[in-house]
Symmetry: C2
Subunit: 358 residues, 2 copies
């Protein structure tokens, strides 16, 4: 039976990425060698890395605008540390927006490096909205926000206008919608949601921001050293980078970010439409801040849990359980999720309505 | 034509690891999902991580001896930073042995954290030997060494007797030979030589050593936090960990470290035997410190380069070029390399001798 994978991450990728990457494990580019055993300095893999880095800038409209794209290991959580190391001056101040678990984790790490001001937080309502109307201190070295909150199903629709460098963790909605990426100083994202398998993170950096903190930065945490070594300061995660490259190529073939955004809008409209229409369900996030990537919802009546769970599992749906911080259900509908799978979920919700009707 | 992959890393892995991991990308454990799209918290992957961690301790004879095994992202180079963060006290001192490029890189990072004493170095002879007879200061927080030097083809046959905690970078010879692993406080290794594909690193830690520096450690750099979260503090590199797990299982099926050491000894004896016998070649490392993983050698007469290169390429050999620091040739003969492939290289060396004979 076909599976419909609504997992929050690692998560669904295009079927052709699975097929091509499995083939590359058996024989990479007709070399007679597996992609798992080739040198990262081999001509063919250097080309993959260079093409992937260029493709990132192209898809973001940042080519020739002073940005560098890196594929580094360690996960987006390592960027929680690299960002203050590279941007927070000794005695300086960082500003953060607290919109959920991962934003809080980033704040916790920044505090180990210096003064950290949380300009606003939605913790008071279990992060079910995005704070607005906050002020970013003009003397902050940077402002950090999280564009999409995987756990709480909220997403920033607008980014602040400010002269302070914008740093954004886009782990769970990167490449899902048109944004003016040139507004940002640093964008980073773990690959394992919209971009590839777990094991690599993408970092896009406006190069002119670097080298100003006066800190002694450990080499592997220094963005400048990674830029100088063209994202090969140390051995990159060859296979995760390759699978991410295949995913980026797929995205370009789909028509890029503009085209995928239209599809993502249609999927989100279909699912939120059903949540709002069906009397058995309710969404958890405030309507204007709803995420188009992670759709969190609850049963109005928990007595229907067993029956609903039985229905969606029987339909081949997996990964629908909500995060423990919110409960209920979370349907992650990333770029690679076809609208047909969203329709299967909507049909199951309708079926539940029919079977429990009085 | 069959390829014989002598690459220094990423490098050859067992053929069954390629086949099983390609299959898992198409369908993991009969789940109908790819291993690239499953949650790292899924039951099946948690089992992989737990089994892999247990298998590491079993293969090292460390089960029940107060050690923890972790599979972390970032590469062995990140351990150059994690080690001083976790073991070097404020105002304390670290001791390092300088045996090559990677040892030097580790020293460079440690110096950013505090006093670092290099107890001995073989830089004076382009790292072609392992220093001996050095003294480790009794007041050092730890002593760091590199068991095998991939670039220079040298290997430590003995480790010092000392009360100072021993930290060892075993990236390029881990699981290749019997060692009393319980002598070490921390052992670490990038996966991409003897253990798996690039993208994860193994860290084995004697737990009682942690928590003593008084430093404020960023979470992702704190071994204790990774131990508390059972190597899932953040999303692990799912696929690289899985492929490493398959490689460790293969090693156990081969008879474990004892059995593979016998095979490695036979391969090294075959190749060094030919280097010493064949008048056209000479080894670069001092005989008593020769590596059984990376065999570095030169042509006595560079005029034979073109002919030799033509011969080994025609025989299906790849990855034989030496590192620029040494020149010549480097045959990396890791665990997964069959002796038949080493014989192919030896036959080519003999063929060169026949063709250039007067």
């Amino acid at each position: 039976m076909k599976k419909h994978n609504f997992s929050a991450g690692p998560s669904i990728l295009p079927q052709e990425v699975f097929e091509k990457s499995a083939q590359a494990i058996l024989d990479f580019n007709g070399s007679g060698l597996s992609i798992l055993e080739i040198s990262h300095r081999s001509k063919d893999f250097v080309a993959v890395m260079e093409d992937a880095r260029a493709l990132v800038l192209e898809l973001m409209g940042l080519t020739g605008k002073g940005y560098q794209a890196l594929f580094l290991s360690g996960g987006a959580s390592l960027e929680f540390i690299r960002v203050p190391y590279n941007l927070l001056t000794e005695g300086g101040k960082a500003a953060y927006l607290d919109t959920g678990t991962w934003a809080s984790a980033a704040i916790k790490e920044a505090k180990k490096f210096g003064s950290t001001e949380v300009v606003a937080s939605s913790k008071d309502q279990n992060y079910n909205y995005i704070p607005k109307g906050y002020t970013i201190p003009a003397d902050a070295d940077y402002f950090h926000c999280t564009s999409n909150n995987t756990i709480f199903g909220t997403q920033m629709n607008e980014f602040p206008e400010t002269d302070v460098p914008l740093v954004c963790d886009m782990s769970s909605d990167i490449f899902s919608r048109e944004i003016d990426f040139s507004k940002f100083g640093i964008i980073y994202a773990g690959a394992q949601k919209n971009m590839g398998p777990a094991g690599t993170a993408l970092i896009v950096i406006k190069e002119e921001l670097l080298g100003k903190t006066g800190r002694s930065i450990p080499s592997l945490l220094d963005y400048k050293q990674h830029i100088d070594k063209e994202s090969m300061y140390n051995t990159p995660a060859v296979f995760p980078v390759y699978a991410s490259y295949l995913t980026l190529k797929w995205l370009k073939e789909q028509g890029g970010v503009t085209a995928i955004e239209a599809k993502n809008n249609a999927k989100a409209a279909l699912l939120y439409g059903e949540i709002d229409r069906n009397p058995l369900f309710k969404g958890t996030a405030q309507t204007e801040d709803r995420s188009k990537m992670n759709v969190c919802f609850l049963l109005e009546n928990e007595a229907h849990t067993e029956q609903f769970d039985k229905l969606w599992k029987a339909a081949g749906i997996s990964g629908l359980a909500g995060h423990r911080s919110v409960g209920g259900y979370r349907a992650s509908i990333y770029n690679a999720m076809p609208i047909e799978s969203v329709q299967v979920l909507v049909d199951v919700m309708k079926e539940l309505e029919r079977t429990v009707a009085p």
